[in-house]
Symmetry: C2
Subunit: 116 residues, 2 copies
């Protein structure tokens, strides 16, 4: 469902629990769910974790294939999903692609889970 | 794939990028991917967001049905997934169930995305 979520409707529906700040709109939730889907995969979490654990939070694709035990095309596919979702940036030097972590990419979700 | 990821293997495979800390193991990644799946859904993100935006980060299930425009069984199903994943806790008072946010539930993922 992608019905527009109107904050007025939410407040009107709040019979017993007042809202103290504005929740996500349906559009924001759709977009954020797509971002979360990029993380909902063990291979992608491992790749992200290896990049994050590497010096300067950067790793060559050549270093990512062996640890996860997947083929190079599969690893590249996962890295593309993580890059499109905003968790990694990609740069090319010589024959190899390098991936760098984007810190704070999860901030919008973390902010959801902070007590108001 | 659920092959055990050995840190020694990773270090051995790191031809050009030294690791500065330990990445997720395959088991940790499997578990975390399950947690992320709970967030990879627009309706669940909206429900979580409404609970987080409610006073004391707590909401009655009766207040969650109308804003998301889903049936009560569907809302209850989504809330159960969020509770099982550790994002909400559930308590019953009278006829209604109340859901409370668990702050810091995303910490393990956020830590991944902090520059080392």
């Amino acid at each position: 469902m992608t019905t527009m979520l109107d904050v007025t409707d939410i407040t009107a529906g709040a019979c017993c629990t007042p809202l103290v700040r504005e929740p996500l709109t349906a559009e924001q939730a759709d977009q954020l769910a797509g971002t979360m889907k990029a993380l909902a995969d063990p291979a992608r979490l491992r790749l992200l974790s290896i990049v994050a654990a590497s010096e300067n939070s950067e790793a060559c694709v050549c270093d990512l294939i062996e640890p996860v035990g997947l083929s190079q095309p599969t690893v590249s596919h996962h890295l593309k999903i993580l890059t499109n979702a905003g968790f990694l940036t990609r740069s090319k030097r010589g024959t190899w692609a390098y991936f760098t972590l984007v810190p704070g990419a999860l901030d919008r979700v973390s902010q959801l889970l902070v007590a108001s």
